[in-house]
């Protein structure tokens, strides 16, 4: 630990709410970016699932909007230590998108416009745990927050909720993504504080 600066508290967790260890509560919605924001028009947007056998199932924007939508209210936890509680999204459950996909894969790699990737166990995307979200707080999802469509996997650190998602590769072997190949934890459970490799 460094030299303690007297009177410095920083942004730290509030005593009366239950947050994962090391997190502080924020009311605003910080924008994190590892690069410039891609502008993806809904006329060219497409989302595709590719299985381990190379089989591909794709949706255009229109086809995607015709799928049944859900409106989950969830808490989100960023590895840079902010948490935001009670966020409401509109999106399509991954259960719906993967319902007709034949696969024996155990892993998934999310791919985004702009080149970002992140890996997750496939089971973490199922059973009502993950969505492809296109609205936030009743509004269209803004590009800086991942619009037109982002992945939403609120039970893991928010870097797993890939912005600007365009595809999901289903894999029989785990393939680390953008941050996972640069020191971040492969799984990223905020309640176990799995920030870095080895945590």
């Amino acid at each position: 630990m460094g030299i303690v600066s007297p009177g410095f508290h920083g942004r730290r967790r509030q005593g009366d709410v239950k947050l994962p260890p090391g997190q502080y509560l924020t009311e605003d919605f910080p924008v994190l970016s590892a690069g410039p924001t891609p502008r993806v028009g809904t006329d060219e947007w497409e989302f595709a699932v590719t299985t381990e056998t190379g089989e591909r199932r794709g949706w255009t924007w229109q086809e995607f909007l015709e799928l049944p939508a859900e409106t989950p209210t969830v808490d989100i936890h960023c590895v840079t230590k902010w948490s935001k509680l009670g966020t409401t999204w509109t999106g399509v459950s991954l259960d719906t998108l993967l319902a007709d996909v034949e696969t024996t894969a155990d892993y998934a790699l999310a791919r985004s416009y702009g080149g970002y990737t992140t890996n997750l166990p496939l089971q973490d995307l199922l059973d009502g745990q993950a969505w492809l979200a296109y609205r936030f707080g009743g509004e269209e999802l803004a590009p800086e927050h991942g619009g037109p469509v982002r992945l939403l996997v609120p039970h893991l650190y928010f870097w797993k909720s890939a912005k600007w998602i365009r595809g999901l590769d289903l894999l029989t072997q785990d393939e680390p993504g953008f941050w996972e190949t640069a020191g971040y934890h492969d799984y990223g459970d905020p309640w176990l504080e799995q920030r870095y490799q080895g945590d």
Partner: protein, 234 residues
């Protein structure tokens, strides 16, 4: 480890911190330090600040703009008191630096708080007794937001200062308020034929625009060095 020796308020929201850093190795004008604050429970936050003046022995200076909903700057400009310790790492950055043995004329372009490392160059010139001609174009929103007013109002011989206001200018100011434009730099920066060394510092958008204007006026891009402030979170 450093200790706060004294402070000077530059504006109601910006404060210069004079730090005692035992064993300070000295630094070049334009370099910065990383300041790390640690709370009693181990939580820490770090920010970079440009050194605003040459070292005087173990004494160094930085100027901190208070960002109201920031995390570090409200502490440094409000709570941090003389005698308090703070963790300082540096000096760092050997790129955005001016060396007194460089004879080329110098164009400095500052946007807001970006004046700090450029002020370090103006002061290093004075300390070195240099006669290299300097021009500082200093863009701020309003006259009240100018830093280092005393020194820059009566600059050293050979240093010319051109303030530029983007929102509100003093009464009778000839140039109407507005963003830095090509004409401003055509009038105030050294002509490209003089092959000046150009240093541009400020928020990302300002630096982008100013550097593009300098290139458009004919300056060699290799002679332009930039330091952008990102969204640090204060």
């Amino acid at each position: 480890m450093a200790r706060l020796a004294e402070t000077r308020d530059e504006t109601p929201t910006a404060r210069t911190l004079v730090l005692d850093v035992p064993g300070w190795p000295g630094h070049l004008a334009g370099q910065h330090v990383d300041v790390r604050l640690t709370a009693e429970d181990g939580y820490s936050a770090q920010r970079s600040y440009s050194l605003a003046a040459p070292a005087a022995g173990a004494r160094v200076e930085l100027t901190v703009q208070n960002v109201p909903d920031g995390e570090v700057s409200p502490y440094l400009t409000g709570v941090f008191a003389a005698g308090d310790p703070v963790e300082v790492r540096g000096p760092v950055g050997g790129w955005f630096v001016w060396r007194p043995d460089d004879p080329a004329p110098v164009t400095l372009v500052a946007g807001g708080a970006g004046v700090a490392p450029l002020m370090a160059m103006v002061r290093a010139r004075r300390v070195a007794g240099s006669r290299v001609p300097f021009r500082l174009v200093y863009s701020v929103r309003t006259p009240e937001e100018r830093w280092y007013t005393g020194e820059l109002r009566r600059p050293d011989p050979g240093v010319e200062v051109f303030p530029l206001y983007t929102r509100a200018a003093p009464d009778g100011w000839a140039r109407p308020p507005g963003r830095l434009a090509k004409d401003d730099l055509a009038a105030w920066a050294w002509p490209p034929e003089f092959d000046p060394a150009c240093f541009v510092c400020g928020p990302t958008g300002f630096v982008e625009a100013a550097a593009d204007l300098l290139v458009a006026l004919g300056n060699d891009p290799r002679r332009i060095r930039t330091e952008r402030f990102g969204p640090s979170g204060g």
